[in-house]
């Protein structure tokens, strides 16, 4: 295990999102230990993506949030994203298109190591998720499953104290899905950071193994369902 890869505890305290006067779900409070992968479930439009983006510090403009985010006992709610050390694997593709696969990963590695060592670290991490030899590939040519894995590696190589995953498996075909999911989640568990995964697939939540939180609308919103 590489140094600095161990996270501590991620606490959410009465977090909820609003669009204008409308509250999207009941305030969410949870506490995640390192190595735990918790799941957040809810129908599309329930605010899962917006919640993760807000926790990471890159809120989606239409949403307003209340509540606190505490990382290792430190309140990070008002910090800029670059000062939080919370990794985010977004649902849409955010790999940098002007860089190759290996360069995307090297950009995430902390500064200070010599170039040769950085190449080596990036190469080794690709091997861990079954992407050996991918470092010179063009990002545009990757399949959905390859993109998801490179995105995860990039987030983890930055040595975050916690990691958030937004529907990481939604674009994968079913047979491939369980196979990639297992390797993916094992990788996170081995890095020993608290992780929060947003999904609408209960199989994802089961494999994650941690507590499951359902984003339930406040009284009145779901009455029509």
């Amino acid at each position: 295990m590489s140094p600095g890869a161990t996270g501590g505890r991620l606490d959410l305290d009465k977090v909820t999102l609003w669009i204008g006067p409308r509250q999207l779900f009941e305030p969410l409070t949870l506490s995640l230990a390192a190595g735990t992968i918790a799941s957040i479930m809810g129908p599309s439009g329930s605010g899962k993506s917006a919640l993760l983006a807000w926790i990471a510090g890159v809120p989606i403009p239409a949403f307003r949030a209340t509540g606190r985010v505490v990382l290792d006992g430190r309140d990070v709610t008002d910090l800029a994203p670059e000062n939080r050390r919370i990794g985010l694997v977004a649902q849409d593709d955010r790999l940098f298109r002007h860089l190759r696969v290996g360069e995307n990963l090297e950009m995430a590695l902390p500064a200070g190591e010599p170039v040769a060592k950085r190449h080596q670290l990036a190469e080794k991490s690709l091997t861990q998720l079954g992407l050996a030899g991918f470092q010179h590939r063009d990002v545009a040519g990757l399949s959905g499953g390859e993109r998801a894995r490179v995105s995860l590696l990039r987030a983890m190589l930055a040595e975050p104290l916690a990691v958030l995953l937004d529907e990481p498996f939604s674009k994968l075909d079913l047979p491939l899905r369980s196979q990639i999911r297992q390797g993916f989640l094992d990788y996170i568990r081995n890095r020993c950071v608290p992780a929060l995964i947003a999904t609408h697939d209960s199989a994802d939540a089961q494999t994650a193994g941690g507590p499951v939180h359902i984003l339930a609308g406040p009284p009145g919103i779901l009455d029509g369902f």
Binding site: A56, G57, E82, G87, F96, M107, E113
Partner: protein
């Protein structure tokens, strides 16, 4: 009906060819008209012995080395500083509220004509200028203007400052236009969750993708800065002046033999611009290669609030200095007695306007007519080209874009004198038509560039809806597309009009001295020392494009209000 429609459709297919021919013919003719005399062939003045005599005469000029050095130094420094200011500001402030607020001011500042802005800047920074007056005597101790030449300093710093005031907003707008094609917000968010500060995130993630889109506007700035005439006449040192000013001087010398030498100097000017663009492109390749490891070295940057504030302050200062320069013009035009070092005139008077008004009426009307006509023709040709694109489902490729940019890349002083020579030979020089054509050369690319994006982004559902109701393509163009595009059309028109009002060299050469505009009057007024007369001519020149911009903003707003008022 359908037959007529097909005919008109066929006419539309000619639009891109006609448009390109309109801009490429004068450039080609101009180059021939410059290169032949440079090598001794100019029958109009009896030169029919091809040879290198003009070059020998040119190289014998003692002023030449200094002029070339000044040209290269001011051109490269002006372009480099403008680019650094624009990129530095966007990289450090793109996530701040100031960014949005400031970008709203770019278009009106950009519309200020070069000559008026340069004169206003001279009124600010001269030893007896407004800045010295505001600081004297309490800060400087000066009771009389000091013996310093801050506007015509030998290093050309005044000219560089003038270029920075004019080109930084242009590059900022070019960056904003390029960013609208890139959708950088997601990439920036991703880089910041990896720990990158906003500035480093921008430089490492957005910058490399943005630069290729900035290349042509940047080369246009470089070509302009290396060959500018009107700003150089006002702000650059006179002994030696930049090469462009020498060329102008020699072309207008009563000694006709100097025409050949001037043509050779024009070729040299063209070579300088070409070499500068090639050199810049070579630097790009080197920097791109060297920067590759820097992109992935993992250095996240520090908070850098001080750097951000400094760059934002510089940006506000450049826009503020432009605004103050125009204010200085207006103030001098109505100044009565204004003794140094008083902050403001002791009395205001309209004497200068009364004295100059009658004399400037004709140039003002000529400016207005040229601007309106050139803009109207450019809008018609642009709409025809874009409509042709849309109906045939084609898009302007990168090669077409370079052709469109060609008039902005070719230095005016290098081919317009040649174009005049060809026009004289063809017997169409000195007329309003020749001037209009030369204006169109510069108005057209800017109108095309500012209308193109809006036209292509038009919501096609409206068109489909109209089409399903049985409307033909021309009805849709007139009744659906153009009304929807009213705002962008007026904005493009304001840009085109501002470009035309600012043109100096094309008017001088195509007009052959017989047609005067406010640009010419403002530059000529600088030869006299009457600051009030200068102020009147220059503020009138600055005023016209500002009115055009105000109309482009107010008219769509007023129509919008009327529609809302009419709604049930």
């Amino acid at each position: 009906m359908s037959g007529g429609g097909a005919d008109r459709q066929g006419w539309l297919r000619l639009a891109p060819g006609v448009t390109l021919a309109m801009s490429l013919t004068p450039i080609g003719a101009g180059l021939i008209g410059t290169i032949l005399p440079a090598f001794g062939w100019m029958p109009a003045i009896g030169a029919v012995d091809p040879g290198l005599g003009a070059w020998v005469a040119l190289l014998a000029q003692l002023e030449l080395p200094g002029a070339v050095m000044l040209t290269v130094w001011t051109g490269l420094a002006g372009t480099g500083l403008s680019l650094a200011l624009a990129l530095g500001f966007v990289a450090t402030s793109h996530h701040r509220p100031l960014f949005r607020r400031l970008t709203g001011w770019l278009a009106p500042v950009l519309s200020l004509p070069h000559a008026a802005l340069a004169i206003g800047l001279a009124f600010m920074i001269a030893p007896s200028g407004w800045i010295a007056r505001l600081l004297s005597p309490w800060a400087t101790g000066w009771g009389v203007p000091p013996d310093l030449w801050t506007d015509r300093d030998p290093l050309g710093l005044g000219l560089i400052l003038g270029l920075v005031l004019k080109e930084t907003p242009y590059l900022l707008l070019a960056i904003l236009a390029a960013l609208s094609h890139l959708d950088p917000a997601r990439d920036l968010a991703a880089a910041r969750t990896l720990g990158y500060t906003p500035a480093k995130a921008w430089l490492k993630v957005v910058g490399p993708r943005l630069y290729p889109l900035l290349r042509l506007p940047l080369y246009a700035v470089l070509a302009y800065a290396l060959s500018v005439v009107d700003m150089a006449l006002i702000l650059a040192p006179a002994t030696p002046p930049p090469l462009s000013v020498l060329i102008l001087r020699w072309f207008h010398d009563p000694d006709l033999a100097l025409r050949l030498q001037a043509a050779a100097a024009s070729c040299l000017q063209l070579g300088l611009v070409g070499a500068a663009i090639l050199g810049w492109a070579a630097m790009e390749t080197i920097v791109t290669r060297l920067a590759r490891p820097w992109l992935t070295d993992g250095k996240r940057g520090r908070a850098g609030a001080a750097a951000r504030r400094f760059l934002a302050a510089l940006q506000v200062a450049t826009l503020g200095l432009s605004a103050a320069s125009i204010a200085a013009l207006a103030l001098w035009s109505v100044a009565g007695r204004w003794r140094f070092p008083d902050d403001l005139p002791a009395v205001l008077s309209m004497n200068a306007w009364a004295a100059q008004g009658r004399r400037l009426a004709e140039p003002a009307i000529a400016t207005l007519a040229l601007g309106l006509l050139a803009t109207a023709i450019a809008l018609a040709l642009t709409i025809a080209c874009l409509e042709n694109e849309q109906r045939r489902g084609i898009r302007l490729g990168s090669r077409g874009l370079i052709l469109l940019y060609l008039p902005l890349l070719a230095p005016q002083i290098a081919f317009l004198p040649g174009a005049q020579i060809v026009m004289i030979a063809a017997g169409i020089d000195g007329g309003a038509l020749a001037v209009l054509w030369c204006h169109l050369l510069y108005v057209l690319p800017y109108v095309f560039l500012s209308l193109g994006d809006a036209y292509r982004r038009l919501d096609m559902r409206h068109v489909d809806a109209a089409s399903s109701l049985g409307a033909g393509p021309w009805t849709i163009l007139w009744r659906v597309k153009l009304p929807l595009l009213l705002g962008p059309l007026l904005a493009a028109g304001a840009v085109g009009f501002a470009v035309s009002v600012a043109l100096y060299v094309p008017t001088v050469f195509a007009g052959g001295g017989r047609i005067s505009t406010l640009a010419i009057e403002a530059v000529n007024a600088m030869a006299g020392a009457d600051r009030r007369a200068i102020g009147v001519a220059a503020s009138l020149q600055a005023f016209l494009p500002l009115v055009a911009y105000a109309l482009a903003i107010l008219v769509p707003a007023a129509i919008g209000r009327r529609r809302v008022g009419r709604a049930p």
